[in-house]
């Protein structure tokens, strides 16, 4: 596989086919845990690890799993990986484990994981599959992080609250109080805030796409081939 193809995989996961704001897969954790940056990014990274591992472990056996039973086998493998991640977090990141709670086991049911395994890892070699899973996971993490930041600043006036749960006691002083003496804006923290925030993010991405499209048309009005290589 060429370098360009790896680049494409990354670009797809992070931007063009972003699971959070383009494919809109895996919305349950997206909306539920994105109340703060730390929660969102933590669950996003856990999902990215699971996706990379599931891509890496399913791609090598893709030719040995009979087609008819591939879905149960995939689910089984994903469930095992999630449970392993859950055990590890429970053992070594207890505070975060308590905060993320039910959403860690729910990574199993996050359709983005199965979707990438089915659409990519079952047809490609291990390395690109792992990269695809990880890139998709990072794309999701980025959306969770941005959405978490928006909701946290508007809802609580802080950034990185709870970071000590993820990084230990030394991070206790890292919480930024963006707006001092902020009374809070409840709706941003509650589920409707997540929907509104996600809507704004999707709108923002579409706007950027349209603008890029328009720019391409004005700078290269006649030559289509130039636009493709750019």
């Amino acid at each position: 596989m060429s370098l360009q193809e790896y680049k494409d995989i990354l670009h797809n996961g992070l931007w063009k086919q972003n699971p959070g704001i383009v494919q809109l897969l895996g919305l349950c954790p997206l909306l539920a845990v994105s109340s703060t940056v730390v929660n969102g990014v933590s669950l996003g990274l856990a999902t990215a690890v699971v996706m990379a591992l599931s891509g890496a472990s399913i791609a090598p056996i893709r030719n040995y799993v009979p087609n008819e039973i591939r879905i149960p086998v995939f689910i089984l493998i994903i469930a095992v990986l999630v449970t392993v991640v859950q055990y590890l977090m429970n053992a070594y990141m207890y505070g975060l484990y308590v905060v993320l709670g039910i959403f860690i086991p729910l990574i199993v049911t996050n359709c983005i994981v199965l979707a990438r395994v089915e659409a990519f890892a079952s047809k490609n070699a291990p390395l690109p599959s792992a990269l695809d899973g990880f890139a998709m996971g990072l794309g999701l993490t980025a959306v969770l992080g941005v959405l978490g930041a928006m909701r946290e600043i508007i809802g609580k006036g802080t950034l990185f609250s709870g970071i000590d749960l993820a990084l230990g006691d030394m991070a206790q002083g890292w919480v930024l109080h963006i707006i001092p003496d902020y009374k809070g804006f409840l709706i941003a923290i509650l589920p409707p805030g997540a929907f509104i925030g996600l809507g704004l993010l999707i709108a923002g991405k579409n706007w950027l796409n349209l603008r890029a499209e328009a720019k391409r048309k004005t700078t290269a009005p006649s030559s289509d081939s130039a636009a493709v290589t750019a």
Partner: protein, 215 residues
Amino acid sequence: MKRIARASLQSAANLVFFAVIATAVLASTFFLTRDEIVKSEQAEKLKLITQIVPPALFDNDIIQDTISIPADPLLGTEDITTAYRARLKGEPSAVVLEAIAPDGYSGKIWLILAVKSTGELAGVRVVAHKETPGLGDYIELPKSPWIKGFDGKSRAAYKEADWKVKKDGGQFEYMAGATITPRAIVKAVNKALIYFAENRDILFKANTPQKEKKK
């Protein structure tokens, strides 16, 4: 017919093969992380307990010195819970109880409370709740010091009528707009203190048999 049977057997064998591998991976992770998980859970518990039982009050291994107490309407519990006993030089000094306030604004509020042997509250903390964020969640310590208002209170110093929020003629503070939450907690704490008074001797009874069982 024979072909169908063979195909299903083959698929089943395939699934069994993957299930065996999966189980092996899970079992080994479980055994590798088990000790660490128990350790962090106990550390978390101890952190919570030492918040409400001043370390000066005990010198025993409070996590190990436990007693199981059956569900009791005074505690609001529906299951067996664990009480932790604090002892100083072998003498009982305080007990940590779990209690549930059933009538919060959005359901149950889980509490732990430490009662000194004198019947005085050493401290109360909310362990879990579903009260409205930003409104009823001032019962959490990071959000507001309200819950510390219970420190040092006892049923000896406060009459029955005092165990209410100020709005209802009692002695406890509340925040305007969210009265149901503190009302539920004050009621639950009062009832837990009644439970303590009624069961004091059982709660502090040394349970030597359980200690012997310890590996």
